[in-house]
């Protein structure tokens, strides 16, 4: 650009003449940028905390439990209890295409004993896939239940972290033995601490998990309490549920359209709803910030109009000595962008500082950890560019449209 250095020197000179006004206008842009970044940084942190807690139960899973039929079928009346076995659930893996993971779950209230300590807990008998479905990640040094445990009907147990602490105190539980129905079970893993905001029965941190086959042996049952599954494509979850109902209906003799025969908690629906709510939340907060920034942009536009008016004669002179209107327009536009950029940078630095401080505060357990994602930073920069162009465009057009002869007479 023609004389960028000179153009910026001109701007600096004019700003020194209009210190207070310049400071206020720059503050407007800085405040707008700070608002956008801070509001959205906290909003993102909160949304991530919420999602983490929500996904503590499992990402995109559905939990189904046997209920009663609601329709008559082949001479059988409605209201009949259906009772799927572990084999019925295992058969779904073949009968229902598009399932990414599936696990049966037996549930019982049970007493666990370590030495003199006895605790009554919620015990689940599950398939190996259950760990992946329900985010049951082991702490280092341990593992979740595996296929060998299941096939060998091993007496092994995976413990919730809180439960492990209650049973073993500060000692390492992995490799230790506990008594379940007076039979020794070896602890193979302990749950890594996780956020979880919903459950059925008890939070995972307080539960114990054994292989489903072992559970069936110990309790002499084949009837599962529920089963958990996830479609490979989240958009196909609903279709998978239909196929599951049809497959079970064929094995257990009920109407394949009888969705009421199964109780269902499809977390994808609420995860979608929460995602939509948070999107709206981001948009509302973002808009609040955008309007604040636009107000700052109006301040800058006013300042630039004032500077153009003060420099009318100078602009007339530039045009008289051969400056093209486009060059004059570009000068004013670049000066405006520099102003907006300076205000925006100040706001961004303040926001980054505030976010860095807030990340170490005691409140993050409730508010989440605020952060400025790259996309937010890039979006704010683009927005500042747009505000700069908007704020500068009209003063620049006025400057470029000046009649040099008239302007020189000013």
């Amino acid at each position: 650009m023609a004389g960028l250095r000179e153009s910026l020197a001109e701007l600096g000179h004019e700003l020194r003449q209009q210190r207070l006004r310049a400071l206020l206008s720059l503050s407007g842009v800085a405040w707008g940028t700070l608002s956008i970044l801070l509001l959205l940084a906290f909003s993102v942190g909160f949304a991530e905390l919420f999602a983490r807690r929500q996904q503590g139960l499992g990402t995109g899973i559905a939990i189904a439990w046997p209920s009663r039929t609601t329709k008559a079928w082949q001479g059988l009346p409605p209201g009949r209890r259906i009772r799927p076995t572990h084999d019925d659930i295992r058969a779904l893996a073949l009968a229902v295409p598009g399932l990414e993971a599936l696990s049966a779950e037996f549930v019982a209230g049970e007493r666990l004993q370590v030495g003199a300590r006895v605790l009554r807990v919620e015990l689940s008998g599950v398939d190996p896939e259950f760990g992946r479905l329900r985010q049951l990640e082991p702490r280092p040094g341990g593992r979740f239940l595996n296929a060998a445990d299941q096939d060998g009907r091993r007496r092994v147990v995976f413990l919730g972290d809180d439960l492990a602490r209650s049973l073993f105190g500060a000692d390492e539980p992995v490799g230790r033995t506990l008594l379940l129905r007076e039979a020794p079970f070896t602890v193979v893993g302990v749950l890594r601490t996780k956020e979880q905001d919903s459950d059925y029965g008890a939070l995972d941190e307080d539960r114990a998990f054994v292989p489903a086959a072992t559970f069936a042996d110990v309790y002499g049952t084949r009837l599962v309490n529920n089963f958990v599954y996830r479609a490979a494509d989240p958009a196909r979850q609903e279709a998978c549920t239909d196929r599951i109902v049809q497959a079970l209906a064929a094995r257990l003799r009920f109407d394949p359209t009888d969705r009421g025969a199964l109780g269902l908690w499809d977390t994808t629906e609420e995860q979608r709803m929460v995602a939509t709510i948070f999107l709206a939340f981001h948009v509302v907060l973002g808009m609040a910030g955008v309007f604040t920034l636009l107000a700052g942009g109006v301040g800058i536009a006013n300042l630039m109009f004032l500077l153009v008016r003060r420099r009318t004669s100078e602009i007339g002179l530039k045009l008289a000595v051969g400056a093209r209107p486009a060059q004059v327009r570009r000068e004013v536009l670049v000066q405006t962008l520099v102003l907006v950029g300076a205000g925006g940078t100040a706001g961004a630095v303040l926001a980054a500082g505030a976010v860095a401080l807030a990340r170490s505060g005691p409140w993050i357990a409730e508010t989440g950890v605020p952060r400025i994602p790259t996309a937010l930073g890039a979006g704010a920069a683009l927005l500042l560019l747009a505000v700069g162009v908007l704020a500068g465009w009209f003063p620049a057009r006025r400057a470029a449209g000046l009649d040099p002869a008239e302007a020189l007479r000013e």
């Binding site: 004389g3 250095r5 000595v321 093209r324 060059q327």
Partner: protein, 229 residues
């Protein structure tokens, strides 16, 4: 016969003043050849400054034709008009120097818009300032210079783009008589070197120095007189 450098045919310009139209130029016909030295004279409001602005491409006629070196100015778009202005050097009565800039930066200003590199701009500005006798005032700001020196800076600024046409609007109007003579002698030196010089003035003494005198009244050319010196 070669085409004149500047050719005006039936040029009119109307301004609105307080809502009423004012005919600043009314059917002006005028030819000025390259290398001429012309004085435009007339009472205040006779249209001589408007004519000078049209000649310098700062303004365009509402009616009529103005050809500058064969180019019809009325048809030029704003950017082309700006480029045409670079062939013209303007000297104003009020100097129009930027007070925050040094003499050398004021002189270099026109080069900023012609794509000349900063170092070259400065070198040329220094050269022209030396040419007008201000080699020892390069870094002085206008406020630190006398009226005569300021007008010399303005002349240097008009010269820095090596124009073929020098237009001066009351160049001595704000100067004491000694400074005025120094400036007009400088302008005449440039004319003798081949520049076309047009001076608007109501100073009869200054007008008498030109080779041709164009008198204006009510937006019309009312007399053209060749002058001997």
């Amino acid at each position: 016969m070669p085409e004149p450098l500047l050719a005006l045919r039936g040029v009119s310009k109307v301004y609105a003043r307080d809502g009423a139209p004012v005919r600043a130029l009314d059917g002006v016909d005028l030819d000025i050849a390259a290398g001429e030295y012309v004085a435009l004279t007339g009472a205040s409001g006779s249209g001589k400054s408007t004519l000078l602005h049209i000649l310098g491409c700062l303004d365009r006629p509402d009616q009529g034709s103005y050809r500058f070196a064969g180019t019809e100015i009325a048809s030029l778009r704003p950017d082309a008009l700006a480029r045409q202005r670079r062939a013209v050097g303007f000297v104003f009565q009020a100097f129009h120097l930027l007070p925050r800039l040094s003499a050398v930066d004021n002189v270099a200003l026109p080069l900023r818009y012609s794509g000349v590199a900063p170092a070259v701009r400065r070198a040329r500005a220094v050269e022209v300032l030396r040419r007008v006798g201000l080699g020892d005032r390069l870094e002085h700001r206008p406020g630190e210079l006398s009226g005569g020196q300021q007008q010399r800076v303005a002349v240097a600024r008009a010269l820095v783009g090596a124009p073929s046409l020098l237009l001066c609007d009351e160049p001595t109007g704000n100067l004491d008589s000694r400074s005025g003579v120094e400036v007009i002698e400088l302008l005449e030196e440039l004319w003798r070197e081949g520049c076309t010089l047009i001076v608007v003035t109501h100073d009869p003494g200054l007008a008498a120095r030109a080779r041709r005198r164009v008198s204006m009244r009510d937006g019309r050319v009312v007399g053209v007189a060749e002058q001997e010196r």
